[in-house]
């Protein structure tokens, strides 16, 4: 398969089951909603060392938020519910409770077959030292915690669902700037897709990994088959003209969400095409044995 001169490899991205949740963060204005959201989704690129993968899904207008203020929605994914619950609580406590004027609300209440209620502000209320009060509106409990800027308002819980993490594709280009430009175009297109986040810096990861290492202590190491500087000395996947490879990783609430995002991203990268140095699109997998979700590139782009 070739799109605009770009070869789509006959391969697939291998993804895993994760637990995912959405939180709506509002504030007096978008600037402070972003401040809280960026803090909350900071250091959350990969579950390998961050515990969760998190990112900002999209901006919300005042009409879309529970309290009528501007806000953003964030998505957060972890490999187990216990980790997600713990991370959500600590990040809420350090990043939203602390952020002036910010409030947090549930982002998943319905629309999925199995929704588990997990704590959002349920335990943060104890920061109120007995002065906290709760209010129930439309069957949902909210907590008001007195803080120095006024009141911290948070919903008691949000919804957690079974979701998918690790969807990905690789962009192989003739130069580093060209690979980056294609990634930027892909991320711009994918950030318009709902229910997904690209957790790495700017949505792009350059240090793709393989399983295992020559060092016994490491479980993963650099994906030398895709490292352009090792073309001559390793069992390379790269043809001579490839000088740079970048990867976009996608976590989504459901399998179809990831497919939509991958299609949008790959299409945007291919639009730049061979004349801009974009040569191939590939994907990362582990032979299909580790992850239950397989996203076949040619199927997605068909």
């Amino acid at each position: 398969m070739i799109i605009n001169g770009v070869t789509i490899d006959d391969t697939f991205a291998e993804a895993f089951g994760m637990r995912g949740t959405r939180v709506i963060i509002t504030a007096q204005n978008l600037r402070w909603a972003y401040n809280a959201a960026r803090a909350m989704t900071g250091f959350a690129t990969s579950v390998i060392a961050c515990g969760v993968e998190a990112g900002i899904e999209r901006e919300l207008t005042p009409e879309e938020t529970p309290d009528g203020r501007p806000g953003v929605s964030i998505l957060m994914f972890a490999m187990s519910s216990a980790v997600l619950i713990k991370q959500l609580e600590t990040r809420m406590g350090q990043c939203v409770l602390t952020c002036p004027t910010a409030a947090a609300f549930s982002g998943i209440d319905e629309g999925y077959p199995e929704i588990t209620k997990i704590n959002l502000g349920k335990n943060l209320r104890f920061f109120g030292d007995g002065f906290q009060t709760s209010k129930v509106f439309n069957g949902k409990r909210y907590w008001r915690v007195p803080v120095m800027d006024g009141e911290f308002l948070t919903e008691e819980s949000t919804g957690m669902i079974r979701s998918v993490g690790g969807g990905n594709f690789l962009i192989l280009a003739e130069s580093q700037p060209q690979a980056l430009a294609a990634c930027e175009a892909a991320i711009d297109a994918m950030s318009k897709v709902p229910n997904v986040i690209m957790p790495f810096p700017g949505g792009v990861v350059r240090s793709g990994s393989k399983v295992g290492s020559k060092y016994k202590a490491l479980i993963a190491s650099t994906n030398d088959a895709f490292c352009p500087t090792l073309k001559g000395i390793t069992k390379t996947e790269l043809s001579p003209e490839i000088e740079s490879v970048m990867e976009i990783v996608i976590d989504g609430l459901t399998d179809p969400d990831i497919r939509v995002a991958m299609r949008a991203g790959i299409a945007a990268a291919c639009e730049l095409g061979a004349k801009n140095g974009i040569k191939r699109i590939s994907a990362g997998n582990y032979g299909g044995k580790l992850g239950p979700y397989h996203f076949k590139l040619r199927e997605i782009m068909a």
Partner: protein, 268 residues
Amino acid sequence: MSALTFTLKATLQQRVDLSPLTPDNLAGKSQADIAAIPLDSGREKLRVDSLFDIAGDDAADIVFNNANGKLDFIGNKLKTGRITVNGGAGSYLGLQMRGGHIVLNGNADAFVASGLAGGLIEVKGNVGDFLAAALPGDRKGMKGGIVLISGNAGERAGDQMRRGIILIEGNAGAYLASRMLAGTIGVLGSVGEYVGYGMRRGTLLLTQEPKLHATLQDCGTHTLPFLSLMFKSFRNLPSKFANINKNRVQRYSGDIANDGKGEILVFK
């Protein structure tokens, strides 16, 4: 299916307990069965058909026409369905109701919504004393649900109320929210003396500055974000509260003689 309609035909000498006439109780019963249900009235038991003309067959939608203030316990322990009362109602309207919807086109007497735990009660008129209050001997009044009063409420509204929302478009009498445990009460009109007497927790929302007793303390003027959330949740209610969107209030806290975590918010 048309609404199961009870039209009062008798002139009542005594008060009548209508607690058996709820959708949950009447579901699946024939009109003859319903007609034979005994209703307590003082020392007597009166057949339903001796008091009411019965028409219709949809027990999930009950209508009382020509009703008056001698009819007590309408919608008692209601769980589902709808009861419409045209005329008036006696005491204990919606007592310990758990769900469903009661609409009263007229006035009601004491203890409306006492022990209410869920559902919606709308009164297009005035209610007597002890709205949503605990019955003597009970430790909690209303425990959930929503009560909308388009007219005035008597004294002791919300006494020992534990949870839920009461929105009064008219005035409220003395001792509003006395011994309130939690929940929300809004009053658009005036309130009587000793508002929030012994109030423990909960929110009282007023449009006019009340006369406060000594153990309610001023906490200053604030813009509270939760009010936007609350008024947004009122948007679809058939009440004047549906059109309010203010969050600037004077906050009084109390009753500090009784824990003091309650609040009286007065619009600025």
